[in-house]
């Protein structure tokens, strides 16, 4: 009788936990290998998790709506069909309790004279979404337990508590962490410095206002933006680029690209120009780790995609090895899959540089926030026809109508100096203005 553990997968380098949004199978259901077992939503991706083996779903340890650290045991598959009797429901972490190093303390007897503080006596708040006294005890735990929880990024309310009124004791949380070792620090996703929780101050709504609690993606975006501004020494450079030549090349090739199922955009040219130059300017294709700089071996360009429900940054892997049509196709494909929620967790990982393109909405230029732990992000302004002074070969100046757009790059001045950034941008600009026809 073989049993296979199903764990909460690691979905990205900065992802510590996942929310099980939906079970697609019930206890006792037979599942095929790779058949979707449950859905999760993590930082920015909703994904179906396939069964790691064929068998029968024997045990469910994480309920819908629960958020658990990665590597937490989510379910157990019984791979021997003859033993396909559903297991009785078990408490979420039975082993942790059984393996506790000493006999559990006896439950408090209600007849005991309670010294000063008796935690159970407080009346529960009324309904209306307010926590009950018991819920509050579960989360408002002792200083030590909160300290351990913060150090290990553990949500206390997910831990079964054996103290009074379900309070999570030191033994409970240590057992829980031991059971889910990936939740401990020093795992890859915790590479970002621990900065303490990001707090967003509360504001009193006025009568008639609508208060909408954040979705998971909004919350993650909000925290990440504040964290990035706090971590990186943001500074920006602006370059005006003449896109006239790119516009001409695009006009010529658009039809033939469309016939091959690819929409050729200005963004594809810009991404291509960046991809060509990032390897020449490794400090822009880097990450900061504590007191050192990580120069990335790969050139993976993230492309920010605005969705109705938030922002997501799928990544073009090995962008420097792709032709213009390869990059254009990748941008089309990732954008489409982002809009239809078909991105896989891998699609949003391992970016080394990011481009955000709000130009379609018409801004002259913008100053983007760096996508941590990267060190630079390029913003693209509106590309439109503007009067421009041009100098002819004989030295005479005239005003011409040219296709012009602003490129803005925010970069982390901890490791990228102004000269580095501007040399990179100058090379990008030059390549765009002199884009080789043969490369289209």
């Amino acid at each position: 009788m073989a049993r296979v553990d199903v764990l909460m997968p690691q979905m990205g380098e900065s992802i510590a936990e996942g929310t099980l949004s939906k079970w697609l199978k019930k206890i006792g259901d037979p599942v095929k290998r790779d058949e979707p077992l449950f859905e999760i939503s993590t930082d920015k991706v909703d994904a179906e998790i396939p069964a790691p083996a064929a068998g029968v779903l024997a045990e469910i340890n994480v309920q819908e709506g629960q958020t658990v650290p990665v590597q937490t045991l989510v379910a157990i598959l019984e791979t021997d069909a003859s033993a396909a009797v559903p297991a009785p429901a078990k408490p979420a972490l039975p082993k942790a309790a059984a393996e506790a190093p000493q006999a559990a303390p006896p439950p408090p007897s209600p007849a005991q004279p309670a010294p000063a503080v008796r935690p159970s006596g407080r009346p529960a708040d009324g309904d209306g979404g307010v926590q009950t006294a018991e819920q509050r005890l579960r989360t408002k735990s002792t200083p030590l337990v909160r300290k351990i929880a913060a150090e290990h990024s553990v949500d206390i309310s997910r831990i079964p508590g054996s103290g009074y009124a379900g309070r999570v004791t030191k033994q409970d949380i240590l057992g829980y962490i031991e059971r889910a070792p990936a939740a401990a620090p020093a795992t890859p996703y915790s590479r970002l410095p621990a900065l303490g929780a990001i707090e967003h101050p509360a504001v009193e709504p006025w009568p008639g206002d609508r208060v909408e609690p954040w979705s998971k993606i909004r919350k993650i975006t909000a925290d990440h933006m504040v964290m990035s501004r706090r971590v990186s020494a943001h500074v920006a450079s602006f370059f005006e680029v003449d896109f006239t030549r790119v516009a001409q090349l695009r006009g010529k090739a658009k039809q033939s690209y469309a016939e091959r199922g690819v929409n050729l955009t200005f963004l594809a040219f810009i991404a291509k120009a960046c991809a060509e130059n990032l390897r020449k300017h490794p400090v822009v294709n880097a990450a900061v780790s504590a007191d050192s700089t990580i120069y990335r071996a790969d050139v993976n360009i993230g492309i920010a995609v605005a969705l109705d429900w938030g922002l997501i940054v799928p990544v073009i892997k090995h962008a420097d090895e792709l032709s213009l049509i390869g990059i254009a196709r990748a941008i089309n494909d990732l954008g489409e899959r982002a809009r239809t929620k078909k991105l896989s967790p891998d699609d949003i990982q391992r970016g080394t540089f990011t481009i955000t393109n709000p130009g379609g909405f018409g801004p002259f230029a913008g100053i983007p926030i760096i996508n941590q732990p990267q060190v630079a992000i390029l913003g693209v302004g509106a590309i439109e026809k503007r009067p421009k002074v041009v100098t002819a070969a004989d030295g005479t100046d005239s005003i011409a109508i040219r296709t012009i757009g602003m490129l803005t790059m925010s970069y982390d001045h901890r490791v990228v100096d102004g000269a580095d950034a501007d040399k990179f941008l100058a090379d990008v600009k030059q390549l765009l203005q002199e884009f080789p026809e043969g490369a289209v």
């Binding site: 000493q102 006999a103 303390p105 408090p108 010294p115 002792t142 200083p143 909160r146 004791t169 030191k170």
Partner: protein
């Protein structure tokens, strides 16, 4: 090695210091010819003479005042309070005069005031008190409170050698109950200001001193056997200056603290210890800091009432059990 009682160990310490240093002398009520109410100084008068073992009038203020003057002049007086309850008569001399002498006048006052304290002996309100809290609040004094025979000897010797005034509290319930093998011929000195782990444990810590240290150890034994709860017991030994490092270390180890003392609750030093833990080790607490103390009443004469008022082993077990399950 010879087995000695707490009282005999104290007596040995006094004797050795009298032999070692002729500046050391004893004064108090009935300490000479009679040998002291509890016979701590029995035989001292014969060995050291009436000029070094001085019988005084019944005036605690005069005893401490005379001792202070002698200390200023270079002697090492050990003043006995026949019962420590009557130290209140010398409160002014100790707090206003002795404790401030170094600060006010640069005067060194190396004196020891010692005497029998504590209850559990049916002594009633005048012969059972624990006055440590009143003096803990006085900068300039040191307070030691041994629980073992070894420390009774080691701390009286260290107190006599200290350059500052030391209040030495000896629990009369321990006098003849506590026995210990002590090496002969080896000098025993217990440094002032250092607590001692009386029992190692990992689930919760009891901080205590004096007679309740032994009751805490009994409770720890019961909890280990009955509940499998491993209790650490810290013997403070010195109350002032308090060994913060030892207190913080045990809090960090077990994360739960029960403070046990025989003195009454309100304004007792358990409150001071709890405040220090809050300041220094708040994030290491896995439960509220709890106290087991005497009730806030004068100690009754009636045996049943005395048993009720003073902390008993079963009270400690109950509180520790509650805290362990928190």
């Amino acid at each position: 090695m010879a087995e000695v009682t707490f009282l005999e160990a104290l007596r040995q310490g006094l004797w050795e210091e009298m032999e070692r240093d002729e500046r050391v002398f004893i004064l108090g009520e009935d300490v000479g010819l009679y040998g002291g109410a509890f016979k701590v100084t029995d035989g001292f008068s014969k060995r050291f003479g009436a000029s070094r073992v001085i019988d005084t009038p019944i005036s605690e203020a005069a005893i401490v005042g005379a001792a202070a003057g002698a200390a200023h002049m270079g002697l090492r007086p050990v003043a006995e309070m026949q019962f420590i309850d009557f130290i209140s008569c010398a409160y002014d001399m100790l707090t206003n005069y002795v404790a401030t002498a170094r600060y006010r006048a640069g005067l060194s006052t190396p004196l020891v005031v010692r005497g029998p304290c504590g209850g559990y002996v049916r002594g009633g309100p005048f012969h059972s008190q624990n006055p440590e809290a009143a003096f803990l609040h006085t900068p300039g004094l040191k307070i030691v409170y041994p629980a073992t025979a070894r420390d009774a000897k080691g701390l009286i010797k260290a107190s006599i050698r200290d350059e500052d005034p030391v209040l030495y509290l000896e629990h009369k319930w321990l006098y003849r109950r506590i026995k210990e093998q002590l090496p002969e011929g080896e000098e025993i000195l217990t440094p002032i200001g250092q607590a001692r782990i009386a029992r190692e444990g990992k689930h919760l810590s009891i901080i205590s001193y004096g007679a309740t240290l032994w009751k805490s150890l009994e409770a720890a034994e019961q909890l280990e056997k009955a509940d499998g709860v491993s209790v650490e017991v810290l013997d403070l030994r010195t109350l002032l200056p308090m060994d913060d490092a030892a207190i913080v270390a045990t809090v960090k180890k077990t994360n739960k603290v029960l403070i046990v003392h025989e003195d009454t609750r309100t304004g007792g030093i358990a409150g001071e210890i709890a405040a220090r833990i809050n300041e220094r080790a708040f994030e290491w607490l896995d439960g509220p800091i709890m106290r087991v103390t005497a009730h806030d009443v004068p100690l009754p004469y009636a045996p049943t009432l005395e048993d009720f008022v003073l902390p008993q082993t079963e009270d400690i077990v109950k509180a520790a059990r509650w805290l362990a399950a928190y």
